[in-house]
Symmetry: C2
Subunit: 342 residues, 2 copies
């Protein structure tokens, strides 16, 4: 059973993934979440038997589960970081805290075609992916053991996406709130307590006024190079209208968002020679109404997507210090991306 | 002038390194802090003119500055992230905070020989490096603009260390305390307030009792695989006797530490096939006596070194979430490293 362990000094939880553990001599510098057989892709139409049974799918009428005829498919990871079965059993060990690694780890296969980059999917297909994110969030919230679902994408080997070139995202449902999300929630709450306004809404207002960090402003969404960017060409996408929870977006707005995603990802691909990238969705945590601390989260928090191209290795000491060095001003990155014709 | 910018939501400072900025089309995935001429190393004896003039050196008697005859040499980075000249000029821009990128960025050239890995230096040479860290910390504290000095090492291309195979470390003096250090200081303080004991001292006591995460326990220092390790084979080295500030260690204890460093780094090199790695030194911040918040830091904080081999790319989404997944239990890592014969 994997374990969730808490750093006693700074309170950060980590997953100690015992079931994925390899022998110490097997660390080769790569980790694929699937080991594709030579010449076959387990995520393509016709290879359904190579994955665990599907949890969710968008299918053509009259097609059977786990057979071709799907347009999007969600399956459990074959080497999950966390296990769906069992109780948390939170406990101490001297000054340490730990619990069982209970959670969900799912792969969202975004197309039945062997297409690598999400930017090459159609807008309709991307809209289906976004709708699926929303549906999975709603479904997983029902499991009382989970506090948060992280939706993320690792594209390309340099971003931890492995060598298999089939467009997919992942989600991990966790029994604890991730540190970065908690920090955002507290920061946003503190600002709200003082100003009685959402900090993200204020930030959007200032970006629209200042213009120079805007990558795209379209159909109710804004894509910006953030003021304190950690990475060159980091881009955040936010809904312009206040919204704390990704699942509150209606289907129409998700179609608009898919257009914005396609444009931004296409600009990154074309302008930067198809770089590896990660993105994460930050949304409000589950069951926040019951958690006194987050009573105001629907007012003070604002969901968003953070896209991080992985172009530099300058992150040498960032992991140890939390101090990021970004070698390109976000204003230059935004101007460059605005100019990329797609 | 580079800028220090603060993320308005979570309060993290980043360096926007305008002077190192390349054109957006120049992001190739590598960044060397020096661009070595073909076949020559600017850090070797005889190449002193290829670096800026030295700030500090350990030299044979009767040798001239910036000429051969040295055993260790500190020079400013030729492409510094921060500039030594100027005032901070902290200011706002709407809801954003920024200041001039004032600071120091120095390269500690650890040997005049073209040796790549610190583990291949002699114990005496490593002791000189540690003594130099301490001396530079004491010297830089005199500059009232600086709050902290980060000492770190990027070894190997996979750790941001570039392609130049000459053993060196770096330091960056910053006018703000790095987020990760602040988190440690607060966590340690909170524990001390409750228990009236140093959390690191308690942690060392528990590790010695439990034994299974100990890599080495020698001459007053302990090397452990931390309970909530972020990375496979992550190792922390701590002085067993309480000490908040690296500069408080006497020369004798630094010689003992150099032995421990050499053994740990040699085990990593031999056991894991010379992996890239980073290390950082976490020590108490400057002028803490004057900062009310950190009044007790000499009692509640405990300096240490965190060594992070860079073996996996599993860090795909860690940057966006603060959630780490470690694919190897630290107990297994420690057992493996204990067993590596050097």
């Amino acid at each position: 059973m994997p374990e969730l362990r808490k750093d006693p000094i700074i309170g950060r939880w980590v997953i100690i993934a015992t079931e994925r553990a390899r022998r110490p001599d097997q660390f080769s510098g790569k980790q694929d979440e699937v080991s594709a057989k030579e010449g076959s892709c387990p995520f393509c139409s016709g290879s359904e038997s190579q994955t665990p049974p599907e949890i969710y799918a968008v299918r053509k009428p009259n097609t059977q589960k786990n057979t071709p005829g799907w347009e999007l498919r969600v399956v459990p990871s074959i080497s999950p970081f966390l296990r769906i079965e069992g109780e948390l059993d939170r406990r101490g060990d001297g000054l340490y805290d730990l619990m069982n690694g209970v959670g969900a780890h799912e792969i969202i296969i975004e197309t039945d075609q062997h297409i690598a980059n999400m930017s090459d999917l159609g807008e309709e297909q991307i809209a289906r992916v976004l709708k699926c994110y929303s549906d999975r969030l709603i479904d997983l919230e029902k499991d009382k053991r989970f506090k948060y679902v992280l939706i993320f994408k690792n594209y390309g080997e340099g971003a931890g996406g492995g060598s298999l070139k089939h467009s997919r995202s992942q989600l991990i449902a966790t029994p604890v709130n991730p540190k970065r999300v908690k920090e955002e929630l507290s920061g946003a709450k503190e600002y709200f307590n003082y100003h009685e306004r959402c900090i993200f809404c204020d930030l959007i207002r200032q970006e629209i006024e200042q213009k120079d960090r805007i990558v795209l402003d379209l159909d109710g969404f804004i894509a910006i190079a953030p003021f304190a960017a950690r990475f060159p060409f980091e881009v955040w996408i936010l809904p312009k209208k206040h919204c704390a929870d990704f699942t509150f977006q209606d289907p129409e707005s998700l179609r608009y968002l898919s257009k914005v995603m396609k444009i931004v990802l296409s600009k990154l691909k074309k302008g930067l020679n198809d770089p590896p990238y990660n993105y994460v969705i930050h949304t409000a945590p589950f069951r926040r109404q019951k958690a006194g601390y987050w009573k105001t989260v629907d007012q003070d928090y604002h969901w968003h997507i953070e896209i991080m191209p992985r172009l530099t290795r300058v992150a040498g000491f960032e992991w140890g210090t939390g101090f990021y060095i970004c070698p390109l001003p976000p204003e230059n990155a935004a101007a460059f991306l605005r100019g990329v014709e797609i």
